[in-house]
Point group: D2
C-alpha cells in the first residue's frame, strides 16, 4: 500500500497533514519556500519576542483549517468534489504567496501599482504553466470565479480560514492568551446556504468572541505603540532613501534585488520583474538596514540604528488630532538636538492615524443561519445580547517622535 | 510609589518580569539585542516550521527559570543575598551572548581559537566597564569563581536553567509534545547541600523523564535527518568558500563583517575584532547564502540553492561506519551527473558521526539528596527503577549525498 | 534545614505550594475536606463532561492566585505584614467552606435564613477556637473589618481571586477555550491606591476581555439550557418533597443529615446544627435522588429518574415573558399524558427568569489607576474603546417543560 | 439538509463529534449514563485534586481517538466499511460499561466470579436486544470475533485507544505534565499489515516515550503512596464488613443495591442481578462509607473516618519483602493504642505488592512495520537506541500502617 503523505508538527494545531503530490510540489516550490524567510508579524517581535513565526507557517496553518472546514461541510452532506477540495487547499496555500517582506510597511513605497493579492495571482498563473494547468480550479476559487462561492469565502471572507489562522497563530506566538479564538467551534458551525458560507445560530457567542478577540489583538498587539513605532520607522527609512535618491544622492540597498525596486519603484512592468521580487525576503531588508546604520545621512543612520538596536521612537496615542504646535515644537527640538533641517527632522517627528476596522457591515458580512431557515447578518440581529457597535471603525491618532 | 518593572509576554511561561534597572540596561544593549536576530535552532525550522524562536527569547526564558529557582531556594531558607540574586540573573541573561549566528555549524570554520563561552566572558567584561563594575558578581558566578557554587551550577550544570529552558522551549516551538520537560517540578525540588545544587529524592522520576525527553529531542529533532543535512550543507558551503579563497579565487561574503572572518579565520586577535563579531547575525549569513546561489562555482551554488530553497542532501543513518565503497560509488555518480571533480563531489557526498551525549556520568553529575541526608548520583542509585544506561553516549553514522 | 511545604499538582496552574503549618492544618480539617465531595459546577457536567471539578479544587486555586497577587503587591512595595499575608491566604481558603451541596439550587429550599457566607463565618469561628484564635486576622479580612481594605477586596470584590479562579477553572474544565481569562496579566496590574485595590491603566483591555469572557461563560455555560433544566429539576424535586411532607406524606431523604433539614427547614437554630450540615455533600443528595427514582409519587419519581439518567426537561429561552396560554396548554398536555393533576403538572411545566448580572456599576466597582494618578471606574471611562453597556444586566425568560 | 450530530466540549481534545443516531441512543442509555457517576481514577483525587474525571468522560475520549484512528487508516487506503466503522465506535464506547464503582478495589470483594469485561459483554447483549441486533458487529469486534482483527486491537491491545486516552486524560487531569502521551503522532503512524495493527518505523521514539510515560504515571500517580493507601483502606473496609457479616453481625451498606452484593457476594447468578449492579455508582459507596463512620465496630469506623476525611494510613515502599517482625511490632503497637485484638489490628497494619507491568512481551505486542516490509516487536529491535528493559515487570512491596 503506497501513499504520499507528509506530516508536519505545528505547535498550534498539533499535526498538519499534506496528502496530495500536487500539494507537496507546490510547497517545495521556491515561491512558496520564500515565505519561510518572511516574518508573519514584521517587527511585532520587538514587543512580543515569540512572534517570529513566518508566513509559511501561517499558510500551512490556514491550509490545515481549510482541511477541517471542508471535512465538516462534507460530513454535513454538502457536495464538494475531489477537484474542488484540492483546489480550495491549493488556493489557501497560495493566498499569501505574493506577500513581500515587511509588506504592510513597504508595499506603498516600492511597488505601488500592484497589491499582494494581484502578485499572488500572477505567481499562481506562472506556476500553473509549470504544472500544465492543474491549478486552474484553485485560481478560479481564489479569484471568485468558481460557481460554489462558499469555497472562495473560505479563502477570503469575514470568517475565512486565513483570519482564523492568523488570529489564532498570532495570539499563540505572542503569548496573548486573551486573543485566543475558538476556531474549532466556529469551523464546526459552518454551513452552506444558497451557495454562500454561513454559520449556525448557536455559533453566535463564538463569533462575538472572535470579533472581540480581533479587537483586542488590534489594540494590544498590531497597534501596540512600539510595533507602530517600528513600522513607521521602517516606512520613513525607505521614504528617506527614496528622497535621497530623487535628489541625486548615490544610495543603494545592500541587496541588489531590493535595490532594483528602490531605484525605480512603481515600475509599470512589474510582471516582468517578478523573479526579482520572488527572491527578496527579510534578510534583504534587514541586511540593508544594518548597512545603512553606517550611512553618512544622519536621518537614515539614526533611524536604522534605532530600528536595529530597538531604540524606537516614542509614541503617543490619542483620539483627537494632535495639535500642530505640539508637533512643530517637538520637531524644532529634534532639529536642534541632532543638528538637522526642519525637513530632515520631520522623519523623526510625525503623526498619522491608526485604524482598527474590526468589522465593517457595509463590506462583507457574517451571516447567521437560524433553525427556522431564515438568515441575518450578525450586526443586525434583534437580540439584546449582541453589541451593536461592532461596526464602528475605531480610530486613534499617533504621534511618533525622537525622545 | 515608583518601580521599574517590565513585563514580557512569553507563550511558554506566560509572563516574564524584569525588575531591576541594571537588567533593563543589559537587555537594551546592542550585544544583547543582536540575539534577537539569531535563530535558537538554526535550520531546524526546515523540518519544524514553528522552530524560529530566537536566542534572545531563550535567554529571557532561562532568566525566568532562574527567578523561579532562586525564589524556591530562598523560600526553603537558603541564604542568597540581593547582590548574588542579581548576579545570577545577569549571568544567565548573558550566558549565550557570545553565540554566533549558526554557531554550531560555523564556530570551527570561522573563529576557531575561541569558543562561544569565552566570547560571552569577553563581552561581559566589556559591558562591565560601561557599567562601572556592576557586573562583577555576575562574571564571578558565570566563571565559577563565586564561593556559592550552586549559583554557577544554576547557570551551567547538568540541571541548569539553560537546559531546562532550551528543552522546554524547543519542544514547545517545534510542537514535539513528547519533548516537554517538567521544569517546574524539577525547580521545586532543587536544594543546596554543602554548597552544591542537588535535587530532592522525590524528583527522581521527573529527572529520569527529563533525561528521556532530552534523548527524544536529540533523535527526533536536533539530529533529524533534514536538520543534520542542512547543518552539514552550511558547513560545506563555508568549507568550500575557504577552499576557493585559499586557492586564490576572489570570493566574498555579501556581509563585510562576515567576510572579514571568512578571509582570515583563526585570527589570533579575536578580542580586537569583537565589535565586528557583534554585528553579525543570521541576516549576514542568509544574505550571503542567497548571493552565492549565483556563484560561478558549481559546488557553492548547488549547495546554496539547495539550502535556500530547501532542496536538501539526502541522509542515511546507521549504527556502523558506512562502507567506503558505497561512499565512493555515490561520489562517482554525483561527479558524473554534475560534471565535477572527485574533490568537488566530496562536498556533496560525505559521511560523519552524530552523537547524542545525553548524560555523561564522568562529566558533571545530577546528585540526589535523600531524606536521610545521604546523597548519590542518579546514575548510581541502587534502584531497579532507574535505568542504568543513561550514561552510554549513543552514536550514529550519517551519510549525506546529493540524491 | 527544615521546612513545612506541600506541593499540589493543578492542571490549571501547574503547582500550588502550601507553605505554612496552619494552612496545612486547615486543609486537613473535615470542614475543608468536605469541599472535596461537592462539585463546583453542580450539574454542568451533564453538558460539559469535564466539569466535575470540586469546590476544594477551586478553593486551592483561589488560594494560589492570592499568593500571586500578594507577591505582586509586595514586589511593587506595598506594605503587607507576614500576619496579614497568612490571614489573606486563610480567608480565601475558607471563603467557600460554608457552601452546601448543590447550594445554588437548594439554599433557598432547605436553610433559608442563612446564606453560605454566614455559614463560612460560623465555621471559621468554630475552627478559630480549635487553633486558639490564630484565625482572627483571616476572619477580620473576610468580614471586611481589617483596616487594609484591599485585602478584603482580594477575597471578595469585582476582581477578587475567587472570580478569577472560578472563571479560569470553569473555562478550563468545561473546555470552553473562549472563556479563558488572562488572570496572570490582571494580577500583574493590581495596585493599591488609598487602601483600595485598583488596576493599572494598561490592564483596560484585559479587564474588558475578562468581563466579556464572564458574559460568554454565563450564556454558554452557566445558563446553558440543559444546565438550567437540571438545576430547576433539582429545585422542583425538593419543592415536591416539601410539598408532600407538609401534606402529611411520610417521605425521607435517604441521608439522615439531609433529611433533618428537609423535615424542618428554615430552622431558627442553624448554628446548633452546623455539624449535621458539615456532613452533607453531593453523595447525600445524589443517593437520595437515586432512591426517590422508585418513589410512589409520580412527580417525584419522574423528576428523579429524569435527572439521574439525563432525560432532562426541555427548555426554551426568550427575551419576553412567556405567554400564559402557552404555559397552560403545555401543562394540560403534560397532565393528561402522565395522568396528573394540574398542580402536579406544574412541577413539570414552569417558567422563570435567568439573569446575567455581569457587572453592576452601582454595586462594587472596577477602578482604574491612570498614570497621572487619577482614578475612574471602568464603566465611566471616556474612551470610545470601552463599551458602555457592560452595566446592563441582561435577562432571559425560560420555559421548562416535559417534552 | 438534515443531520444528527452532537458536539461535546472536551478540555483534552477540544471537541468530540457524535455523528450517528445509534451512537446517540447508546450514550443516552442509563447503562452508559451511570459511568458519569463513577470516577475514572477512584481516590487518586486525594493526591491530585483535579483527577475527578469520570468513566463516561474517558469513554467519550477513547471514542474520539477511535474516530481519529479510523480516519487515518481510511485515508491510508485500508478498507473499512461503514458498518465496521460504526461497530468499532460502539465497541469502544461500551468497552468500560461494565466497570463498577471503585472496581479495581472492590471487584474481587463483591462480584468475584465475573470480571468487568464480561459484564460489559452482558450489557452489550442486553442492549443489543433493545436495538434489534444493531450492535452485533460491535460485539464481534469487542469479543475479537471480527475477521479484521485490527479493529479489535484498536479497542483492546498494546496500543489501543483505551490506553491512549486514559494515559492522556489521567495526565491531563492530574496535572502531571510529564505523563503526556503523543497520542496524535502514534495514531498517525498506525498501519494495518496482514490484518493486524502495527506502527510505522518512524513512530519508534514516540512509542518508547509512550511506554516511559506509562511507567512514570504508574509510579508517580497510580501507585502513589496515598493513592495505594486509600485503595487498600477501601478494600479493608469491605473485608471487615464481610468479616463481621460472616460472624453474624447485622451490618448493612447504606445503599440497598450495594448491600445486596455485600450480603451475598460471589453470587452464581450475576446475570440475573445485572439491573441491581447497573444502579450502583460512587454515591452508593461514598454514602455507605459515610454512614459507617458511625459504626460501633471500631475497625470499620476508624477506616471509614480516615478515608472520608483523608486521614490515610501511612505507607512505606521497598523493593524487598517487609520484615515479619517489623510488621508484628507495628501491629502490636496499633492493637494497644486503639485497644484492638491482633486480628482487628491487622486491618490497620498490613503488607502487599504493587506491580507495574508496563509492557509484557509475552503478552500482546507492539509491532513495528519497517520500510522494507519486515516487522518486529519493539522489544526485540536490534537497535542500541531502544532500551531492552521495558519488559521487566517491576515490583515494590508496600507496608500500610496506622501512624
Amino acid at each position: 500500500m503506497s501513499y504520499a503523505r507528509k506530516i508536519i508538527n505545528d505547535p498550534v494545531y498539533g499535526f498538519i497533514t499534506i496528502d496530495h503530490p500536487l500539494l507537496l510540489k507546490i510547497i517545495a516550490h521556491p515561491y512558496y519556500q520564500r515565505l519561510r524567510r518572511i516574518h508573519q508579524m514584521a517587527f511585532a517581535h520587538l514587543v512580543y519576542p515569540g512572534a517570529v513565526h513566518t508566513r509559511l507557517h501561517h499558510s500551512l496553518g490556514a491550509y490545515h483549517l481549510m482541511n477541517l472546514a471542508l471535512n465538516e461541510l462534507k460530513q454535513k452532506g454538502f457536495d464538494i468534489s475531489k477537484e474542488e477540495e484540492l483546489g480550495a487547499k491549493i488556493a489557501i496555500l497560495f493566498h499569501d504567496v505574493g506577500h513581500g517582506s515587511f509588506f504592510h510597511a513597504l508595499e506603498k513605497k516600492l511597488i505601488a501599482n500592484v497589491d499582494h493579492e494581484q502578485i499572488s495571482v500572477l505567481m499562481m498563473h506562472l506556476l500553473n504553466e509549470e504544472v500544465n494547468g492543474d491549478l486552474q480550479t484553485a485560481i478560479d476559487i481564489y479569484t471568485d470565479k468558481q460557481p460554489k462561492r462558499f469555497l472562495h469565502q473560505l479563502v477570503s471572507g469575514q470568517l475565512d480560514v486565513d483570519r482564523l489562522d492568523y488570529l489564532s497563530r498570532d495570539a499563540f506566538f505572542t503569548g496573548v492568551a486573551e486573543g485566543v479564538v475558538g476556531y474549532d467551534r466556529i469551523l464546526k458551525m459552518l454551513v452552506v446556504h444558497e451557495g454562500e458560507l454561513l454559520v449556525e445560530e448557536k455559533a453566535i457567542y463564538s463569533i462575538e468572541k472572535f470579533l472581540i478577540s480581533r479587537r483586542l489583538m488590534y489594540w494590544q498587539v498590531y497597534l501596540h505603540k512600539a510595533v507602530v513605532s517600528a513600522e513607521k520607522m521602517l516606512v520613513n527609512i525607505f521614504n528617506r532613501a527614496r528622497d535621497l535618491i530623487l535628489n541625486g544622492t548615490e544610495l543603494h540597498a545592500a541587496s541588489s534585488h531590493l535595490d532594483f525596486f528602490l531605484q525605480e519603484p512603481f515600475s509599470s512592468n512589474f510582471a516582468n520583474n517578478i523573479e526579482r521580487f520572488a527572491r527578496i525576503d527579510d534578510a534583504d531588508v534587514m541586511y540593508t538596514l544594518k548597512t545603512w546604520c553606517d550611512s553618512k545621512d544622519k536621518v537614515l543612520s539614526t533611524l536604522c540604528v534605532g530600528l536595529v538596536n530597538r531604540q524606537l521612537l516614542k509614541v503617543k496615542f490619542q483620539t483627537q488630532h494632535f495639535d500642530l504646535n505640539e508637533i512643530e515644537n517637538k520637531c524644532t527640538e529634534v532639529a536642534q538636538k541632532f543638528n538637522l533641517s526642519a525637513h530632515e527632522a520631520s522623519y523623526l517627528v510625525f503623526t498619522g492615524e491608526a485604524v482598527n476596522t474590526m468589522y465593517n457591515p457595509f463590506d462583507e458580512r457574517i451571516k447567521i443561519l437560524f433553525k427556522d431557515g431564515s438568515t441575518s447578518d450578525i450586526s443586525t440581529i434583534d437580540n439584546p445580547l449582541i453589541h451593536h457597535q461592532f461596526s464602528n471603525p475605531v480610530k486613534k491618532y499617533y504621534l511618533c517622535y525622537s525622545g
